[in-house]
Amino acid sequence: MTYQSQSVAKPYFIAAIGLFIGQILFGVILGLQYVVGDFMFPEIPFNVARMVHTNLLIVWLLFGFMGSAYYLIPEESETELWSPALALLMFWIFLVAGAATILGYLLVPYATLAEITMNDLLPTMGREFLEQPTVTKIGIVIVALAFLLNIGMTLLKGRKTAVSLVMFIGLVGLAVFFLFSFYNPENLVKDKYYWWFVVHLWVEGVWELIMGAILAFVLIKTTGVDREVIEKWLYVIIAMALISGLIGTGHHFYWIGTPEYWQWWGSIFSAMEPIPFFMMTIFAFNMVNRRRRNHPNQAAVLWALGTSVMAFLGAGVWGFLHTLAPVNYYTHGTQITAAHGHMAFYGAYVMIVLTMISYAMPLLRGRTQANSNKSQVVEMWSFWLMTVSMVFITLFLTGAGVLQTYMQRYTETPMSFMEVQDKIAIFYWLREGAGVVFLIGLLLYVSSFFIGQDEPEATVPE
């Protein structure tokens, strides 16, 4: 750690990991409800558990992005953070607002939550991923503005690098597109159309800038490859991301009441969306192969390589699988979608945040370069457990999805939704098993922060 104020990143990372545990606990509950339908019913119905699972995911990723920015921006700018106090204040506001919202989901019926938070004044609730009460959404905007101010002022007074600039553009985009969550017209088609301006333009747009910037930062630090080379790659990757991803939004406009021409625009442009993810894989491996030094934090390098591969598989390959309109006609809204959603979110955004935490956390905790060997070994085990179990979750859901698509949508004698669900239950059991392994991997990950702390730092492998 070069600048004292970078230490504000630490609480952000800790909160991120804490909420991650909550997310996965609810994931395992959801997985069980798929096969034991009345599990926890009516206390925690599926829809409530799902909101908790997905909203915790988004909130902890935001904690992770903000923590990453607070670490990365001062170091890139070669100056202290503009206001560490503001960053800490926003941390507490965001944590309290987030926790209150989750408790609201769990403790009162959703309709009651909507009533007591006065959803009627500006109805924004009840849409997938955007279930937060309107007041929470306003809180998110306030936190985001204060955060951007803090980061922006830091950037202004310091050195400007491509990495910090791209990170900043990505974060501004994140905040700007979130504003569409306040637009909820009565017209269902319009509602759906602009909903994707949040969801798609986040994960297949501006978040890719954030991911690219963090990846570039960690690669610069751990490989010692010339910054000019890395930043050139970064620009090409994010250029491809937006060139393909902006019009690629059209892959969500095939069947929601929008004009037919979107089947062409969406298919052609979204078919190019795997390119930037593929480039990230090439980029990460290339830089590590051309490294000028061996960094003692081998766990961080593993996460960096891992995220580049898994993002390509989850977003690139599994995304491409169902993105062409004639295919999507049959797979739209099936377990294929869930399979892709899981591996893409994990591979790209979970893993990039864990990459940053892996690199930065030892330094934030007073190490000069890396954790002890022992701690890193446990961390790498958790990497493999989580990553391999996510691969299996994806494969089992894909199996379920292929059968579902066939039996319910493709065959001459289609069966009803619920009948099909019964027939493919075995895949859901297998997914649940893989989910439990994921949870074990996560607990191992957490334990790596407490193991080998008294031992000396790992040294550079020769």
Binding site: M51, P123, E186, N187, K192, L242, G333, P414
Partner: protein, 144 residues
């Protein structure tokens, strides 16, 4: 990457490409918006339907179901439920009303939302309106 292709060239492609395709997205959005009246069944978007959409939202129906293929995958597609239930809003209302409070042992069950008569009618009308949106023939069959 080769030496003749410089970082500033890459940066310019990023800025130029992003701005161009963002403007293209805006143009297509504008065009879509003017094509929507023919497709989105707005002539049937009554006050009651709007109220139904609110009932749909404030009970988080999307947390289990898909609507036009978007949402959760735990329970059946509802964009075409009006047609699947024999073009009957009464059948929809009857189903929602009759959900047992404690669920069905061992099975996935829908909660009992205790909707009043007005809310029930509104949400049923909302689903009828949704089923008449022009979705380019999606879903492939009545099972959704």
């Amino acid at each position: 990457m080769s030496e003749t292709f410089t970082k500033s060239m890459a940066r310019n492609i990023f800025y130029g490409g992003s701005v161009f395709f963002f403007l293209l997205l805006l143009a297509l959005t504008f065009d879509t918006n003017s094509a929507l009246p023919e497709l989105d069944n707005r002539q049937n978007l009554t006050e009651q339907v709007a109220h139904g959409k609110k009932v749909w939202e404030t009970n988080n129906c999307i947390g289990c179901h898909t609507l036009l293929g978007e949402g959760a995958y735990f329970a059946p597609e509802l964009g075409n439920v009006y047609k699947r239930f024999g073009n009957s809003t009464d059948a929809i209302k009857g189903f929602i009303m009759s959900r047992p409070k404690d669920g069905i042992p061992g099975r996935r069950s829908m909660p009992q939302f205790n909707l009043n008569a007005e809310e029930l009618e509104a949400v049923a009308q909302f689903l009828k309106y949704a089923s008449e949106i022009n979705t380019q023939n999606w879903p492939p069959n009545i099972q959704g």
